[in-house]
């Protein structure tokens, strides 16, 4: 390729270089932006959960299901409950589960069949990780988060 042809080729190629470089820039800004938003969303959603309940006993089709625990939860068979258990041994509003001053507290409603580690619960009880709570025939494993997503400051 002689000099004149090279000059024309280089002159034409500059549009391609501009296109590629601007493309890289736009792609990196776009991916950064998407990643930032998703991270913010996931962290925001995660920080609302204080722990989870995992079904370990009861009807076969429930076993393995996990429910995130928020600040205020109702457990029951009604459609309005936060943790819905469509089982005939579960009352419409069976128990309340809430977080108070960092402790997770289970408060059964009256006449409900609620047990904590196989012992019948009537009043409010503090829960800790590893407890098994039984709502009717359904057994839950309790997990309470040790750390909260966020910074140390």
């Amino acid at each position: 390729m002689d000099g004149a042809i090279y000059e024309v080729a280089a002159y034409a190629m500059r549009y391609w270089f501009i296109l590629v470089i601007v493309g890289i820039l736009v792609a990196s800004i776009y991916i950064s932006y998407k990643q930032y938003n998703e991270k913010k969303y996931v962290k925001g959603a995660m920080s609302k959960f204080f722990g989870y309940l995992e079904i370990v006993g009861g009807p076969e089709e429930f076993i393995g299901d996990r429910f995130g625990v928020r600040e205020q939860n109702t457990i029951g068979s009604s459609q309005h409950a936060d943790i819905i258990l469509p089982d005939k041994t579960v009352l419409a509003t069976h128990a309340l589960l809430y977080v108070e001053e960092g402790d997770m507290i289970l408060s059964p409603t009256s006449r409900s069949d609620t047990r904590i580690n196989s012992r019948r619960a009537i009043n409010q009880h503090k829960l800790k990780t590893g407890d098994i709570i039984s709502i009717g025939d359904v057994d839950f494993y309790v997990y309470i988060k040790r750390t909260r997503i966020g910074n140390d400051s």
């Binding site: 190629m13 501009i18 950064s32 990643q35 998703e38 991270k39 996931v42």
Partner: protein, 416 residues
Amino acid sequence: MILKRYGAGLILTFMILFLLTAMLLLSFQDGPFDGGVFLWGVILAAVIVLQYNILSAVFKHIDRITLLIADFLCIIGFVMLYRMNPEAGERQFMWIVVGNIAMVAALIIIKRVRDFGRANWWFMLLGILLLGITLVLSTSQLGANNWLKIGPFKFQPSEFVKVLFLIVTAYFLSTRQRKRDMWPYFLFTIACVGILVLSTDLGAALLFAGTFLIVFYVGTGNLGITLLSIGAFAGGAYASYYLFDHVKTRVEIWQDPWAAYEGKGYQIVQGLLAIASGGVLGTGLGNGMPTSIPVHETDYIFAAIAEEFGLIVAVALIAFYLVFIVRGILIAMDARAKFDKLLVFGSTCMLALQSFIIIGGVIKLIPLTGITMPFVSLGGSSMISSMMLLGIIEGVAQKNGELDEAELAEMGGGIE
């Protein structure tokens, strides 16, 4: 709940396309097709692809976009250097490889270390010693005595002291509560800046002082000492204007480079002419005359890029630094320990200031002080230290990612 990590394969593909087409064009520069030139492009492309894939497989949580932006800056620097002087391009390739090794080393060390504890006192001693030896033994290069020659090797100690300075800064600001317990750090800063001013390495002095001001204010929020330091800084700058002829000339040629066109202002004028002759779209790779600018391989590489690739690419280059800085600050905000926060913030700040000082100098926004453009300029010391700063940022990003993953795993989630 799953937090998805976005792969940046698209960006990598575009980068490799850019590198290969640019090297293909350059291989026709001297008439017939020269396979050797294109081969260099293929080798660098292979190195970048390998580096990206290995790093993102071994260290799952490193910030891929920061890594790729640094890679892209290396690529555009390599293409430009190869176009101006093939031998310089080959040397730069070697430094990119060595820099990558330095980056991985820094990444692994930062990932494991908490805050270096007592070793910081040795870092301070080593920093002062390196700068002091340079002041005594240096060989003068372009008005600044910042080179140290040991046998066949020539290196710039101030580039490595930068890394030590950041670690010491983060250590003292994160472990000392009271300001009066920080006196060794203040003394260290004053000594570093003082020695650099004495060896007339004004760019580095400005960089250290600026990083100190910003990181100190961010770390402590103490307005009094920060204002006092700004005052001292301004006073020192004013005094050095009268004390050193070097500074005086720099300011004079900044105010009116055309008056000294034949002499000291020649470099700035040539740089401005190069940027102007390139225009918005550039002259095309290989069509300009960037070699007529003095020091076009290191300090003035921005003008060379602006001439041949055009203003759009030059602005995009600045935007790449901005994306890099924003992502660096996000990593710093995400870090759990104060030491990590300040270390990453300091590294980001230093790279930001360094690119601002040199680009600002080249476009005649601020007086020109000789300093390298991170990742782009030719130079082993500069490439290795910039890569080490990148390694620090990636190391903390990896730490953050591991902690995030542990927290998400607790809740049955994860990071993909």
